[in-house]
Amino acid sequence: MIRFQNVSKRYPGGFDALQNVSFHLVHGEMAFLTGHSGAGKSTLLKLIALIERATRGQVFIDGKNLSGLDRRLIPYLRRNMGIIFQNHHLLFDRTVFDNVALPLIISGHEYREAGRRVRAALDKVGLLDKERMYPIMLSGGEQQRVGIARAVVNRPSLLLADEPTGNLDPGLSLDIMNLFALFNQVGVSVLIATHDIDLIRHFNKRVITLQGGLLQSTGAGLP
């Protein structure tokens, strides 16, 4: 699903965010990406989502080499991945329903069909009764679940999450992670960047560790 081959990313100014990183996340696999702040977790996710481009090396998504990808094709690539952010990036002037429907509107689905899918996604994250509410009326955990519903509504084959539990207490964090594991069970590949080691211990999943832009380990789950 995701393959990094000797990928380096140097930001303008000379800072090396990633150096010679190689790993492979197969279809349907779930992995955690850990490391201290500034270790390169966010940069790695940005390279996958084509928010940034690699300085050296190659990134493949679904067998497609991203290095030569035309800028105009980026939107279509992003539609096949669900991205979840720490600050969830919801639109506060729209209802929960409209927020979740946005990816479907963007990819040109019919409104009626979209409605069905939105309710299905909201049902999965347990927020079906809040579809008419505005994000501001929801708690932090609920807002994050709206973000997840928006990420999965398009039925992507890959979910990317950048510190999805960064602002949540441990109980809520576990709920969110369980949600990701649930999507993984139905075949979605999942890559979650987090520095919450305690949380990772609850899951027997692969952990990719970065340190100072270098790959530390791509091993199996922590003991």
Binding site: P75, Y76, I106, G108, H109, E110, N154
Partner: protein
């Protein structure tokens, strides 16, 4: 890559168009400011054009007064002059010929000039015989009159042909100049509309920065992001054009009374023409083009700067 059906495509356009209108209505004060400025800017050249059109028609209605005065040589006697008048009157392009003999002319001059006693001292009548010639309507234009002038000048009896055309030409020249001036004003104000719309859309883009970022992150194409702003520009242009037209109508309505008063004083029943309906169509066309173009400028300049980081 899913390609949306035509029905979905139209539906989406409709929804975006509607949402753009809603956004304008939600901020009535600031939208009205922009729309009013666009309206005023569009009404200036449009209103001037209508006034010019009125002047032009006024000029056309004066055309029928073109006449030629043929001053005959002194040697031509009155019977010869009368015979010449009859000859010219038979020409196909002539409507009417009137002969003023030297005696009649002197008499008229004596009566109107106030030099009566001075004229009595003259040994002989210095005035020539004059033929006043009125061309037929189809020759009653600058070029027709000039052809006639040349033909009259070629007659052996003619001393001088004076044509009452100079001021008509000047009037047309002034109209031409005014038309050019209005065109320049129009171009400048069109540029102003472009900048106003562009700046308004730029502000709108800035205030919706977060939304643009989010939609980009979840796979919106440039076209999708661009669409609502282009519609905003279009609505600004269209509503501005409507306001501009209403302003022109209002100004003409306010001018109509004084103009017909003035016309009455000149013994004319001239009435100011109201704003024609095709002016509304022209304004709407220009307004929407300028609105779209202004929005396009802002969008192509500023949207590229909003990329996820």
């Amino acid at each position: 890559m899913t390609v949306p059906s035509a029905r979905v495509w139209f539906l989406h356009h409709f929804q975006v168009a509607l949402a753009s209108i809603t956004r304008l209505v939600q901020n009535p004060f600031s939208s009205m400011m922009t729309i009013a400025v666009i309206g005023i800017a569009l009404s200036m050249p449009a209103g001037l054009y209508v006034l010019l059109d009125n002047l032009q028609r006024l000029g056309d209605s004066w055309k029928g007064s073109t006449s030629l005065s043929v001053f005959l040589q002194h040697a031509v006697t009155n019977p010869a002059a009368r015979e010449l008048a009859d000859r010219i009157g038979a020409w196909p392009e002539i409507a009417d010929v009137e002969l003023i003999t030297p005696e009649e002319a002197l008499d008229e001059f004596r009566r109107f000039s106030g030099f009566g006693s001075a004229l009595d001292d003259l040994a002989e009548n210095p005035l020539p015989a004059v033929l006043l010639i009125q061309p037929l309507a189809e020759n009653d234009n600058p070029s027709g009159a000039e052809t006639l002038q040349n033909k009259l000048e070629a007659l052996p009896e003619t001393e001088l042909v004076q044509i009452d055309l100079q001021w008509v030409k000047r009037f047309h020249a002034i109209l031409d100049m005014a038309r050019r001036g209005i065109l320049l004003v129009g171009v400048l104000l069109a540029l102003a509309v472009l900048l106003i719309v562009g700046n308004t859309i730029r502000l709108e883009i800035q205030s919706r920065r977060e939304e643009i970022l989010v939609t980009r992150l979840i796979g919106a194409t440039d076209g999708f992001v661009r669409k609502p702003f282009l519609y905003s520009g279009l609505w600004y242009g269209v509503t501005g054009a409507l306001i501009g037209w209403l302003l022109v109508v209002l100004v003409l309505w306010l001018l109509a009374g004084p103009v017909s008063n003035l016309a009455l004083l000149y013994g004319s029943s001239y009435q100011l023409q109201t704003a024609p309906l095709d002016l509304l169509l022209v304004l709407l066309a220009f307004g929407s083009i300028l609105g779209l173009l202004g929005a396009w400028l802002a969008v192509s300049r500023h949207l590229a700067q909003i990329e996820p980081e």
